[in-house]
């Protein structure tokens, strides 16, 4: 399985999308890469959406938050393994903007559709390739008890 998320964190990131509706939520998935190339999520860190000019259809995480989260993850022997955001009243499918703005190759980009304030579908996509020829591919995920 490519991405393993504890059920409680999965619920947490979906609830984040409901809480910020009709705006997009966003956050960072911290965890570990396993030897098989899979990822285990240990924490879902909520971030603020700095795109206050268009929060209903855009998100941006302040680099200063990424710096802090990356530093704390490394100190804990963990890594940034992915990110999540919501699509208010829009499918849980990556957009051209999502691909253009994705730069963390090997990481997961988890998207939750939130319809009329309720989280509906959550999908994960894996960023592969290099700039200029990068792509997002469907990624299987598994919910774990812990």
């Amino acid at each position: 399985m490519a991405l393993r998320i504890p059920r409680a964190l999965y619920d947490q990131l979906r609830q984040h999308g409901e809480a910020t509706y009709p705006h997009e939520c966003c956050g960072v998935l911290v965890g570990e890469f396993d030897e098989a190339g899979g990822k285990v999520v240990k924490a879902a860190v909520q971030c603020g959406n700095t795109r206050t000019d268009s929060p209903q259809n855009r998100y941006h995480i302040a680099p200063s938050e990424l710096v802090r989260i990356q530093r704390e993850a490394l100190l804990a022997g963990q890594d940034i393994v992915g990110f999540y955001h919501s699509h208010p009243d829009h499918p849980a499918q990556w957009s051209s903007t999502d691909l253009d703005e994705a730069h963390w190759t090997g990481c997961s980009y988890v998207i939750t559709s939130v319809e009329k304030g309720r989280a509906v579908l959550t999908n994960s996509f894996l960023l592969l390739g290099e700039e200029g020829e990068k792509r997002l591919e469907d990624e299987l995920y598994e919910l774990s008890a812990e």
Binding site: H60, D79, W94, L99, E131
Partner: protein
């Protein structure tokens, strides 16, 4: 002097799979140059063909974006930590 550079997940394959690399530098520019000299494969992921930091690559000296300091001319000291973080954004 030696300072530590934190390497983000996507750049590790080009940095010997290391998450922290020690470089020798007096300024941010020297630190990035030494980093690229140690790991030449990193260069095109950090810099444009004109040699400028790519627009989506953020470099922080401790908690400050170098774009709001003196960029490459920003002096560094031994206890400093340089963090590289590609941007995270998108939307439907």
């Amino acid at each position: 002097m030696p300072i530590k550079v934190l390497i983000p997940t996507p750049l590790r394959p080009y940095a010997g799979k290391q998450s922290v690399i020690e470089v020798s530098a007096q300024t941010v520019g020297e630190a990035l140059s030494d980093l690229a000299a140690q790991h030449p494969d990193l260069r095109k992921h950090l810099f444009s063909e004109e040699g400028k930091l790519r627009s989506f690559v953020n470099v922080y000296l401790n908690n400050e974006n170098i774009r709001y300091l003196s960029e490459n001319a920003t002096p560094v000291k031994e206890t400093d930590i340089l963090s590289i973080v590609p941007s995270v954004a998108g939307g439907r």
